[in-house]
């Protein structure tokens, strides 16, 4: 393929390509074009959102996941979406979503102690939607249960607007003593990058790249990622053991754009360069090219940075846990990333060029649908009694035990308030009297009608859920699920939504510790309802918590509020 066409096939725009040439002072070669296409993708580069995300009241910058403190502990938490993979392959999509978010929390040195899921599907009566729904729930169950992290709360909505584009947002909460928090920042040059985990295959190499290169026959759909919860469980235990070894300096999970993004970001954050030797990477398939190895999103892999001499200890731990191990490179003085394969230099360029994707922010104005909506006054002539039964029968209101009983919500023996018993769940910090309250909420319809107030309300709803169980809100993580950001209406909804969340967090004095953006949630003409999802954690004194069951006959019921 002609070089100048490759970048277009990979989804880079002309002006971006010009920018790349400017940054490099030359044309990028083939491998480099792939590297840019991945790092500058919406997923890694946050091109459409990074300008606006700056508005959120953050308490931590630039780590794998954020945290809040409860006494001597850091409660690490983050939410992430796996919407598109779940639409293609519901079981594996959801399973690998769990795997990914667990590794984000793990990379902070925290033991994962809880999962939450926020799910949206089409009409449950439609066989396709039902299929996706059942697959997603069993994927979360299959993976989450196996790795021994309880899924303790969530929410589930059915609505036509998510018919072909379901939302699968999963959140992980972890616990670590606050002076043991791990960092992803490389502190010095000449330290070794150690790869631990499953082998690298061709899975999850981005669709865009694939369309241009590989697809030759109908049987080739190699981009589906399959989760291996056994390796993940081993990786959790191995990582926690490794982080206790003196001389282990930093770590990061290999998520989107795998080896490339983890190694470049770790080096960049520390202000160093790095050198990678791709032939050292443990491979699952034959004949993988340099760009495939760099971009592969094979699951269950972590990257550590260690003092030379310490790597042997990691090798032993890897062996103990049936994991692959390799030293694949090192940090170096300077600002460049150097990629070698079989001794041949494939690329040598400044890391900041890779990490610093251009911003696509633009101003937008109120779209016309908002005016239209204001004219519509919803009316209903259903008699009150029938309305009540209709509501109770609605799958959105009905009991969700079919879902949460498939989740092991008790493993870890910390779940003090279990799903179905209250609006939030509470996890015990053992050997103390403290608990961590957790909840996850979203409301696409309200946000569609009024993106600012709708989003502000979601934060308040999460806070109310916590407070109702006796938990004081401490921090927020957000997952922004929106349509195509190149569309002005979507961009406006997004901006309004960020402002609504920002306002609510300031009003409640809770920081945003991190989050995730998922754009392009549409298929055909139709975008999903704009759906910001809010995960919130807080602190509880276990002597003062409350569930929602009525306790005794003849107790009085009060209604408080306006």
């Amino acid at each position: 393929m002609e070089k100048n066409k490759l970048y277009l096939e990979l989804g880079l725009k002309d002006f971006e390509y010009d920018r790349i040439k400017e940054l490099l002072n030359r044309e990028p070669n083939e491998v480099e074009t792939y590297m840019f296409s991945a790092q500058w993708s919406e997923h890694c580069g946050y091109k459409h959102s990074k300008e606006l995300l700056k508005k959120l009241p953050k308490n931590i910058e630039n780590e794998n996941a954020g945290y809040v403190l409860i006494d001597d502990y850091a409660v690490v938490f983050k939410v992430e979406s796996h919407n598109h993979p779940s639409a293609v392959e519901p079981y594996q999509g959801a399973a690998t979503g769990i795997g990914g978010i667990v590794r984000d929390v793990l990379a902070m040195g925290a033991r994962p102690i809880a999962l939450l899921d926020s799910l949206r599907f089409g009409d449950i009566k439609d066989p396709k939607a039902k299929n996706i729904f059942e697959g997603v729930v069993s994927g979360i169950s299959g993976y989450g249960n196996s790795i021994g992290v309880p899924t303790v709360a969530g929410e589930t909505y059915f609505d036509d607007n998510y018919q072909t584009n379901p939302l699968v947002n999963v959140m992980c909460v972890g616990l670590v003593e606050k002076d043991k928090i791990a960092s992803s920042k490389a502190p010095a040059a000449e330290k070794l990058y150690v790869y631990i985990g499953s082998k690298t295959g061709r899975d999850g190499i981005h669709g865009a790249s694939f369309a241009s290169k590989e697809l030759s026959g109908k049987d080739e759909r190699p981009s589906v990622q399959v989760g291996d919860p056994f390796s993940e469980k081993n990786l959790i235990e191995a990582t926690l053991e490794i982080l206790d070894i003196p001389g282990v300096l930093a770590c990061q999970d290999m998520g989107a754009a795998g080896i490339l993004s983890s190694s470049s970001e770790m080096s960049f954050k520390g202000g160093f360069g790095c050198e990678l030797h791709l032939d050292k990477v443990p491979l699952r398939e034959e004949g993988m090219s340099a760009w495939e190895i760099l971009l592969s999103e094979s699951q269950e892999r972590m990257l550590f940075l260690v003092e030379p001499g310490v790597e042997e200890k990691l090798a032993e731990i890897a062996k103990k846990y049936f994991l692959d191990y390799a030293v694949i490179g090192k940090t170096i003085e300077g600002k460049n990333m150097k990629i070698y394969m079989n001794g041949k230099l494939m690329s040598d360029m400044p890391i900041n060029a890779l990490v610093d994707a251009p911003s696509f922010y633009r101003k937008t104005s109120t779209p016309s649908y908002i005016q239209e909506l204001k004219k519509e006054i919803p009316k209903s002539d259903i008699p009150l009694k029938n309305a009540l039964f209709k509501i109770l029968k609605d799958p959105n209101i009905a009991n969700k035990s079919w879902i949460f009983e498939q989740y092991d919500y008790k493993v870890g023996t910390n779940t003090v308030i279990i799903p179905g018993k209250a609006d939030a769940s509470i996890l015990w910090i053992k050997e103390t009297n403290k608990g961590i309250g957790v909840t996850i909420d979203g409301n696409g319809l309200y946000t569609y009608i009024n993106p600012f107030e709708g989003s502000r309300n979601v934060v308040y709803e999460a806070a109310r859920n916590l407070v109702a169980t006796g938990v004081k809100p401490l921090g927020v993580t957000d997952n922004m699920n929106f349509g195509n950001p190149e569309n002005d209406m979507v961009m406006w909804q997004f901006e309004q939504s960020i402002e609504g969340i920002t306002q609510a967090c300031k009003e409640l004095s809770v920081p945003v510790t991190g989050g995730n953006v998922s754009f392009y949630n549409e298929s055909g003409e139709k975008a999903i309802l704009p759906t910001p999802v809010i995960g919130m954690v807080g602190e509880a004194d276990l002597n003062h918590i409350m569930d929602m069951q009525f306790k005794m006959a003849s107790d009085k019921v009060y209604l408080i509020g306006k």
């Binding site: 499953s198 295959g201 899975d203 049987d219 759909r221 291996d228 398939e285």
Partner: protein, 88 residues
């Protein structure tokens, strides 16, 4: 009408990770077996009632492709094992 017994052999596509196969292989290697390429698949047998073999095969293909396999991850091979008269 006759009864046709089919066997669907369902295997993972090349390049798709097989965590079960990989873990089983690791354990067997530790037991010193010289084993490699352990891959897990499914074997599903079923009986179909149909007018003739051609029809039966068509329906079996349809069932296998639409309901038994996951075309994103799996390949299949369908075998007609036996034919017998429908007992009344």
């Amino acid at each position: 009408m006759k009864i046709y017994r089919f066997e669907a052999l369902i295997t993972l596509k090349n390049g798709i990770l097989d965590p079960q196969g990989a873990a089983t292989q690791k354990v067997l290697k530790r037991l010193n077996y010289k084993i490699d390429n352990v891959r897990f698949g499914k074997l599903i047998t079923f009986d179909l009632e149909a007018e003739n073999e051609e029809d039966a095969k068509k329906i079996a293909e349809e069932i296998t492709y639409n309901s038994l396999i996951n075309p994103v991850l799996e390949n299949y091979e369908l075998k007609l094992l036996e034919t017998r008269e429908l007992e009344k």
